[in-house]
């Protein structure tokens, strides 16, 4: 049964990764979090924490748009190709098929999240610095789980007024290089 689930998941992953929806989704997940929810007025400040909120919030938002899109493509694909007729003439139960589909889709989303985090990880390289100290690497596996973003972002989002303000990092006075530097600092382990 486990091998069958794995076979369905693997085929689903391959199909999705080879489709244009995946690549569009990947571009969105990587690109949009850099701009979404950025401070929009002079009164809003970009601090290390708020930049973190921007990025994480962006990933979660884009994920919530992208997951239904991927789900639709699964249903559409199976509906159009009538593949399930062929599949269910094999010794496969419905539960196995559904679980395989779920894990296939989950792994697709994990791939996107992982690839979305890679640019974030490599930001320090842009400034000629080491990306991360080995003791902070434990944070990344946690980032692979999208719900992590939700858990991390929501409390911060709802306590936005309590974010420490740093007047030297006003959004209207920084350039993109400065923004990336801020982002890189965010990737350090959480402050106590």
């Amino acid at each position: 049964m486990y091998n069958q689930i794995l076979a369905v998941a693997k085929a689903e992953w391959k199909c999705q990764v080879k489709s244009w929806v995946f690549w569009i989704g990947l571009l969105i997940i990587i690109g949009v979090p850099l701009v979404v929810d950025l401070p929009s007025s002079a009164a809003d400040l970009l601090t290390t924490k708020s930049a973190g909120i921007c990025y994480s919030h962006g990933i979660v938002m884009m994920g919530s748009v992208f997951m239904p899109l991927l789900t639709i493509t699964i249903f559409y694909k199976d509906r159009v190709t009538s593949m399930p007729i062929m599949i269910f003439s094999q010794p496969v139960s419905k539960a196995t098929f559904v679980l395989g589909k779920f894990f296939g889709m989950f792994s697709v989303y994990m791939t996107i999240v992982l690839l979305g985090i890679l640019p974030w990880i490599s930001i320090p390289l842009f400034f000629g610095e080491m990306p991360y100290s080995p003791d902070s690497l434990y944070l990344f596996p946690a980032n692979f789980v999208p719900s992590f973003h939700v858990l991390f972002c929501l409390p911060l989002l709802f306590s936005r007024s309590g974010v420490p303000q740093d007047n030297s990092h006003n959004i209207h006075s920084i350039d993109f290089r400065n923004f990336l530097a801020t982002a890189a600092r965010l990737c350090q382990p959480y402050p106590a």
Binding site: N3, Q4, A7, A11, K14, T81, M86, S89, P91
Partner: protein, 291 residues
């Protein structure tokens, strides 16, 4: 061990509509054809056989396994090519068969290569299925059906939509495959049956009208087929009114008309040997008083 498929009083209803009506049938080894017009119940019959549907009444036994209760056992010994299908276009032929192998617990990858070789697709194993022609997709469908080396191979309308050359190639492939296993071929294309099957079942509106050898089926239509030489178009109109026309062949000065039906002693025309297509048409309209 011989492969044995038995239908015992099998009926399938969709509401008030009876797709299959009290089918009793024993399918022998070798190549078996299920012949009938569109909507006769062939696909329902096939789906019950491969456990995709359950009969409303009766029982189907495949090598002693009940198709309704021992679904996994039945699926382990059958290979099925459905009538309408397409394969995820993003996958290559090899990846698709790897998927099917995974579902069947086949770890030996050489079986995938062997199946691709059998259907003559080894050279395109790394091409995406989306770029395949209709015939290639059908052959890949057969490859997935024979991958687990099933004892029984079931193919539903396999040559529909194929060009003549592809159709011949496909029929040859099915006959080759039937050397080692039972093959059940369902079709409304008489040519496919006549060139491949020794035994047939003829199904019309959910009921079996004939079960037996193809030769006997053809012989039953003996004396029911005639040929007319027509030189005047008015004669042709008269024939059209009286008989069911099977074929018309136009020559420079006359037209050769083959018809099927019940004749009186005064009827003109020359009696000719029937073929399977003519026998099919005769049995289709046997109950029709006009025939």
């Amino acid at each position: 061990m011989t492969n044995k498929i038995v239908f015992e009083n099998v009926s399938k209803s969709y509401g008030k509509f009876k797709a299959l009506d009290d089918i009793n049938l024993e399918i022998p080894e070798g190549m078996f054809g299920l012949l009938g017009p569109n909507g006769a119940g062939k696909t329902t019959f096939m789906k019950i056989l491969v456990t995709l549907l359950e009969p409303s009444k009766g029982k189907v036994l495949i090598n002693g396994h009940d198709a309704a209760n021992d679904k996994m056992d039945v699926r382990n010994i059958i290979g099925f090519l459905p009538q309408e299908f397409s394969i995820y276009p993003q996958l290559t032929a090899y990846e698709f068969l790897e998927y099917i192998a995974g579902l069947n617990g086949i770890k030996d990858k050489s079986k995938i290569t062997k199946a691709l070789e059998q259907v003559n697709l080894l050279e395109v194993k790394n091409k995406k299925v989306g770029s395949f022609s209709g015939g290639m997709k059908r052959r890949l469908g057969i490859a997935q059906a024979i991958l687990k080396e099933p004892k029984i191979l079931i193919v539903d309308e396999p040559t529909a939509g194929l060009d003549p050359e592809e159709r011949i190639r496909f029929r040859t492939l099915l006959v080759e495959l039937s050397q080692k296993r039972s093959v059940i071929l369902s079709t409304h294309i008489v040519e496919d049956i006549s060139s491949t099957c020794e035994n047939i079942a003829f199904i019309v509106r959910g009921s079996m009208k004939y079960i037996g050898s193809t030769d006997v089926f053809i012989n039953k239509a003996k004396g029911k087929v005639r040929e007319f030489v027509v030189r005047d178009t008015r004669d042709l109109s008269a024939i059209k009114l009286k008989y069911r026309i099977i074929s018309l062949r136009r020559f420079s000065d006359h037209t050769l008309v083959r018809v099927v039906g019940n004749y009186s002693s005064e009827d003109k025309g020359k009696e000719v040997e029937p073929n399977l297509e003519e026998a099919y048409v005769y049995f289709m309209h046997e109950d029709d008083p006009d025939v």
